[in-house]
């Protein structure tokens, strides 16, 4: 048994030495986040160093097995790593749909060859992935997807359209749901395939969001050749893998309900904006009440994520919990930003200009409105809780 306290001491010392000072502040804008990829865009040399140093130890994917480049850490060790990173407010070294979504699905369902091919470059931040799930006619009703893959012996030819594909224009590879059997019941005719975004016939067109940014795209697939070797698991079993992947995505999104390490607490932001009275209370009593109610829920929610993780480890607790965490965490995050803009008042309504960081706050506030849509809407999560946990309907 590796002694956990030794591990903590070693980790602390290593982070102290290797985490650049500028990486010990919260990410303020999208460019502060490191997404890696074939053509990585590093905002600073420190950002590149930090990703590479962490990747070298496999700590960009701390719990993945070392044979696929991961850190090989136990859950306890990974928790210590998170805590020690939190202690110095270290930024995430690499944000990645590979690590959050397709990686876990490959670890569970992928062949040895697929794992060997795809996992190490994900850990090293060399390949950036996008998620080809949603289609114009298949959002909440994802299983209704129509993108068609026709069998041509050793490969498929894929035709169709995806939409809301986040960062498709910047991604190197796509994990994509396609229909391989149009005659089967809709969930039973779906497969999960992987392809390079540079393949002929893949075209992306960015869509502009209400926040002004364009992080997602329409993705058109015209006679795209996908090798059979890039089929995950078995043909027509893709729905099972897709749902497993979604539970990981939901857990990741639910993390938005927790305050990131290094971020100021909401009440501190509100205190900066609204001031404190002589008794050391937030100066606006109504705002103080709203902040306190949010703060209570946020703390109880953080304890709940922790409890559900601990129970899962001890073999207790219900599955489908990711739906509950996703629902509550995203609604909390929306409430947080509503309070933040309320506290900042007119300043929070400024859209452009240096003085207000190019409208960073209102843009971030608008972005949160997607939290309860992406990864399955709030209403869909409530449906899952009703059916799978409460046994209703």
């Amino acid at each position: 048994m590796f002694d956990l306290e030794d591990f903590r001491a070693d980790t602390r010392a290593w982070l102290e030495e290797n985490c650049p000072a500028s990486m010990r502040e919260p990410a303020r804008e999208d460019a502060d986040r490191c997404w890696g990829g074939r053509n990585p865009q590093f905002k600073s040399e420190d950002q590149r160093l930090w990703m590479e140093r962490m990747a070298e130890r496999g700590w960009t994917a701390p719990e993945w097995p070392t044979e696929y480049g991961g850190g090989g850490l136990s859950k306890e060790q990974a928790k210590i790593l998170r805590e020690e990173m939190g202690r110095i407010h270290a930024r995430s070294p690499l944000d990645s749909f590979g690590i959050w979504m397709i990686g876990p699905a490959l670890l569970k369902y992928g062949s040895e060859a697929l794992k060997k091919q795809h996992l190490p470059p994900i850990v090293r931040g060399e390949i950036r992935w996008c998620q080809g799930y949603s289609e114009p006619g298949a959002g909440s009703d994802l299983a209704g997807l129509q993108t068609r893959a026709i069998d041509h012996g050793d490969h498929y030819i894929v035709n169709g359209q995806k939409i809301w594909t986040s960062y498709a224009n910047k991604a190197d590879w796509c994990f994509c749901l396609v229909r391989t059997d149009p005659d089967a019941k809709k969930q039973l005719g779906i497969s999960l395939v992987l392809f390079d975004m540079a393949t002929p016939g893949v075209e992306t067109r960015p869509i502009k969001l209400i926040s002004g940014a364009s992080p997602f795209c329409e993705t058109f697939l015209t006679d795209v050749r996908v090798e059979k070797s890039q089929l995950v698991g078995e043909e027509n079993k893709g729905w099972t893998y897709a749902k497993y992947l979604l539970t990981h995505e939901r857990e990741m999104i639910s993390g938005m309900g927790r305050t990131a390490s290094g971020d100021k607490a909401l009440w501190e932001l509100v205190a900066d904006a609204a001031g404190m009275d002589a008794d050391g209370k937030l100066d606006d009593p109504m705002l103080r009440t709203d902040v306190a109610r949010w703060d209570l829920d946020a703390m109880a929610f953080a304890l709940t994520s922790e409890r559900i993780n601990a129970e899962a480890k001890a073999g207790q607790g219900v599955g489908a919990a990711s739906a509950m965490l996703k629902y509550y965490g995203t609604e909390l995050n929306k409430r947080r930003y509503e309070l933040a803009i309320a506290a900042e008042g007119a300043d929070a309504m400024v859209w452009e200009g240096q003085a207000h960081k190019g409208g960073a706050l209102p843009r971030a506030w608008l972005r949160t409105k997607a939290n309860s849509i992406e990864g399955g809407t709030t209403e869909v999560q409530l449906n899952i809780i009703s059916k799978n946990i409460l046994g209703l309907g």
Binding site: L296, L303, M324, Y327, L382, I389, G393
Partner: protein
């Protein structure tokens, strides 16, 4: 870091507490004492059995004849009592009274009182509130030195089990303005006890002290500190009770909407009901975590205890309101009848939420403790 997973021992205790309450003190028993206008408001036989199970002495250290099980364990008993609306002296005696005597009492007082409580032979109460809403800073009851002891003047209200307690712990102000804890015996001269039957069919009392003889509980100077801890302990265990109550009200409601038909279908197939039930499920999950965190903080003597207790009580009170309001609404007309139990859950939820501070009180305290 607080422990958030129950170990095997705790889960066994949870099962046996739930079985005991469902067998011996189910909702039917609350109806029986209510309808019989029972003078005590609970069954003394059942209390003797609870003592035999170790529940009366769960928080009493082993050296004084208790089981010394700790707060997480006692919380599970409270949760089971909450599920069944079990009327008993568990809260007033085994949580509040025992904590006050254990934390504030002298060795001699502990040796005199605690073993008898553990045996189920002595009942206690804690008299704190003087205002209709919980406001622990308001203490106008006066304790004046007299001989070896004190005499008390003033009045307390909303004293749980005040009508049956053999010993009452009273907070009062000494001539130098400090707040201390004092011990009064039932039947003492100048003590007037007015029983108040509450909406939940339980009992509280108004106590009036007209020169009532009392002794200091331990060292008078240390009383205020002990009282603050006792109030946290009480609020944490009420939260556990509210959790049990919310869970049971919720499960009964889900079962009901899964069986009642309208428009030719089970009403649980209506999405408007499903989504409200799913939301309530999520809220109750938050209460579970907050209650467990508060109780384990008490066991560990964590300095975050007051914060976590206010978190638990605020959240448990808020969600118990929601669970019982939704419970009645989703039952429709039968929810308003005395025959159905769901209304009894609402009638317990409110006084339990108010006692020792409601959602507003604890939200304000939480904010203050957080630094704003």
């Amino acid at each position: 870091m607080v422990n958030l997973v129950l170990d095997d021992d705790a889960r066994m205790l949870k099962d046996s507490a739930e079985r005991f309450m469902a067998d011996k003190l189910p909702v039917k028993e609350l109806r029986r004492v209510r309808d019989a206008e029972d003078a005590d408001g609970f069954s003394r036989d059942a209390w003797a059995e609870m003592a035999a199970m170790g529940f009366a002495g769960a928080l009493i250290p082993e050296e004084f004849g208790g089981a010394g099980m700790g707060h997480v364990a006692m919380g599970l008993v409270m949760e089971a009592a909450g599920r069944n609306l079990s009327p008993s002296p568990l809260f007033a005696t085994a949580v509040l009274g025992v904590s006050a005597v254990t934390l504030a009492g002298s060795e001699a007082q502990k040796a005199d009182i605690l073993p008898r409580v553990a045996e189920g032979k002595l009942l206690l109460a804690l008299a704190v509130d003087e205002f209709r809403r919980h406001r622990p800073s308001q203490v106008d009851t006066e304790a004046t030195p007299a001989g070896d002891g004190y005499t008390l003047r003033g009045a307390k209200l909303n004293v749980a089990d005040g009508h049956v307690a053999d010993r009452i712990v009273v907070s009062a102000k000494t001539p130098d303005g400090a707040v201390g804890l004092f011990l009064v015996e039932s039947g003492a001269a100048g003590l007037e006890v007015e029983r108040t039957v509450m909406v939940d069919s339980r009992n509280a009392a108004i106590l009036r002290f007209e020169g009532t003889p009392a002794v200091a509980l331990g060292d008078v100077g240390a009383g205020a500190g002990a009282l603050a801890q006792v109030l946290d302990i009480g609020a944490a265990h009420l939260s556990a009770e509210l959790l049990g109550l919310s869970l049971e009200a919720f499960e009964r409601t889900v079962a009901y909407i899964n069986e009642r038909k309208q428009f030719g279908v089970i009403i649980g197939t209506f999405q408007s009901l499903q989504h409200r039930a799913a939301h309530l499920f999520a809220e109750i999950e938050l209460v579970k975590s907050a209650v467990l965190a508060a109780l384990s903080a008490l066991d560990e003597g964590s300095e975050r205890t007051p914060l976590l207790v206010s978190l638990a009580k605020a959240k448990a009170a808020q969600v118990a309101d929601l669970a019982t309001n939704e419970g009645i609404q989703m039952h429709g007309g039968v929810g308003m009848t005395d025959e159905y139990d769901i209304g009894l859950y609402m009638k317990r939820a409110r006084p339990a939420a108010q006692m020792l501070g409601d959602e507003r009180f604890h939200t304000d305290r939480f904010a203050t403790l957080r630094g704003y």
